[in-house]
């Protein structure tokens, strides 16, 4: 329990800092809106095919916009040697990591919540039938993205080309989670029965569990040595 | 069938080409590393001689 409490303390710190400055959320939402706009030029927003693809497009937007948040996650600690201070504190690397994952998760969920109405309006999508399940998919998918992204943020924090390296490393890793989330979102929006697609749920849950455990096990090595 | 032979040769050529290019790249790297090693060794010797003076 102490583990969780420490992690939540770190999460609260990050969230408080974000609420006060709002830099990540603003940048991320703006970027997401721009991508939605650009997509509308690539695809015809009013056609039926696009409505079928809607789930996929949405998760691409979340993945791209999320990278902005994840990049900042450890990078913001570099100023004034805050990262060294955190590592020297009684909080273990895993607790620090978990706290940041939780904070990033909340921030990304907020960004997604802001994007979805815009997306619905732009692309004329009907979500009403399966809001509940869709919310679950969003939780699972976002957790997968956040865990991987925060781990790589920790890995690349001291690298020369951090902004270039993070996207390049992170996107291939996220592919299973993105695939699961995209498939499920697509299915839910199209109104197809979820039973045929249970495997994607299982994939998403398995991905989240495996990589959460793996990340918690490895993060100490990454941060400290 | 003729097209198959043509593409088969492309396939083999591609595989061998990649291996050969890789081996050449390794060989060039070896030469560059040896040159650098010699250069650095000479630099260290010079510095040691300077320090003894």
């Amino acid at each position: 329990m102490n583990f969780l409490r420490q992690a939540l303390a770190v999460a609260a710190k990050d969230l408080r800092s974000e609420i006060r400055s709002k830099e990540s959320i603003n940048a991320s939402v703006a970027f997401a809106l721009v991508i939605l706009l650009l997509f509308s030029f690539a695809f015809d927003p009013t056609s039926d095919e696009v409505r079928e693809m809607a789930g996929g497009l949405l998760w691409l937007v979340f993945a791209f916009a999320g990278t902005l948040i994840l990049n900042r996650s450890f990078a913001r600690e570099l100023v004034n040697d805050c990262l060294d201070a955190l590592l020297a504190s009684p909080v273990s690397g895993a607790q620090l990591f978990l706290g940041k994952v939780i904070a990033n998760f909340v921030i990304l969920m907020v960004v997604e919540a802001l994007c979805i109405p815009v997306f619905t309006i732009f692309y004329n999508v009907h979500w009403t039938q399966s809001i509940g399940l869709l919310f679950v998919v969003m939780l699972l998918g976002t957790w997968g993205l956040t865990v991987i992204g925060t781990l790589f943020s920790a890995m690349t924090v001291n690298l020369r080309l951090r902004e270039l390296m993070l996207p390049m490393l992170v996107y291939p890793m996220m592919i299973p989670a993105l695939m699961g989330a995209i498939q499920l979102s697509r299915v839910l929006v199209a109104g197809e029965p979820i039973a045929d697609n249970q495997i994607w749920f299982r994939l998403l849950v398995a991905f989240d569990v495996i990589f959460s455990l793996l990340a918690l096990a490895l993060v100490e090595t990454v941060l400290v040595g | 069938m003729d097209r198959n032979f043509e593409y088969m040769f492309y396939g083999f050529t591609a595989a061998w080409l990649i291996v050969i290019v890789y081996v050449i790249w390794i060989a060039l790297r070896e030469r560059r590393l040896r040159d650098e090693l010699d250069r650095v060794k000479r630099m260290v010797e010079d510095q040691e001689r300077e320090a003894k003076k």
Binding site: L151, M155, T156, N158, L159, R160, L161, M165, M168, L169, P172, M173, I175, P176, M179, G180, Q183, N197, I199, W200, L203, A206, F207, I210, F211, L214, L218, T221, V222, G225 | M1, R3, N4, F5, Y7, M8, Y10, G11, F12, A14, A15, I18, V19, Y22, V23, I26, R29, E30, L33, R34, E36, L37, V40, K41, M43, V44, Q47, E48, E50, A51
Partner: protein, 228 residues
């Protein structure tokens, strides 16, 4: 000296095996019933795929051993193995594409194997980029080992997910599993080629490891020089 002899031994053996195999593949093995001559590319495609895939996992273990023992030689081994595996994965991809061009009529079929291999190449490209971006040897070794573990675990999950994706969205018919209907005479060169590739790769890995040793010698000499 010992290592140089090993390298030469492996290279010669590999070369000999490959040459003998080429003879078998071209002269003695008949054309496969449905595919014709292109099937012979499989004799390179399959060994390259199998050996490179194994190498990625071996490199992962080497990285884990580094994390345990903090001996930089294991990191050198991991990097060398990954590099050779990357090259042979590239061979797998390209021979697979050429084969697919004939069998399915398209260069890229988005089937599980080729897509997973492409993703694998992307991940390890990132691995090499990251190694180049870090100068301090132990830090580079540490992060490389972690990345290696993540990549290897992920590639298995990616493979499975794309397989499931493809069962729902079938692409071109993919039944080219030669193993099912391969005549006994045709299988032997395949396994010999796997052995030949393994020896070739071992030779290349040993050469690369020796180069890594030279590289670290240069780095330590530089540090010594700067101390004056």
């Amino acid at each position: 000296m010992m290592r140089t002899k090993l390298i030469i031994l492996f290279s010669v053996l590999a070369g000999g095996l490959l040459a003998w195999n080429l003879h078998t593949i071209f002269i003695k093995v008949p054309d496969e019933a449905s595919q014709g001559a292109i099937f012979r590319v499989f004799y390179f495609h399959f060994p390259a795929a199998v050996t490179s895939f194994t190498c990625f996992f071996v490199a992962m273990f080497s990285g884990l051993v580094y994390l345990r023992k903090r001996d930089l030689r294991y990191d050198a081994a991991a990097a060398a193995i990954n590099e050779v595996a990357f090259t042979f994965a590239l061979i797998t991809l390209i021979t697979g594409m050429i084969w697919g061009r004939i069998i399915w009529g398209i260069w890229w079929a988005w089937d599980p194997r080729i897509t997973s291999y492409f993703i694998c190449l992307l991940m390890y490209f990132g691995y090499f980029m990251m190694r180049r971006a870090i100068d301090e040897p132990h830090r580079r070794a540490r992060l490389s080992a972690v990345l290696s573990v993540l990549a290897s675990v992920d590639i298995v999950i990616v493979w499975k997910s794309i397989e499931w994706f493809r069962t729902q969205h079938p692409g071109p018919v993919l039944e080219i599993r030669g193993g099912g209907g391969m005549a006994p005479g045709m299988e032997a060169p395949l396994f010999w080629n796997v052995l030949a590739f393994l020896m070739l790769e071992t030779a290349l890995i040993l050469v690369r490891m020796r180069q890594q040793g030279i590289q670290s010698e240069i780095e330590s000499l530089r540090r010594y020089a700067h101390a004056f």
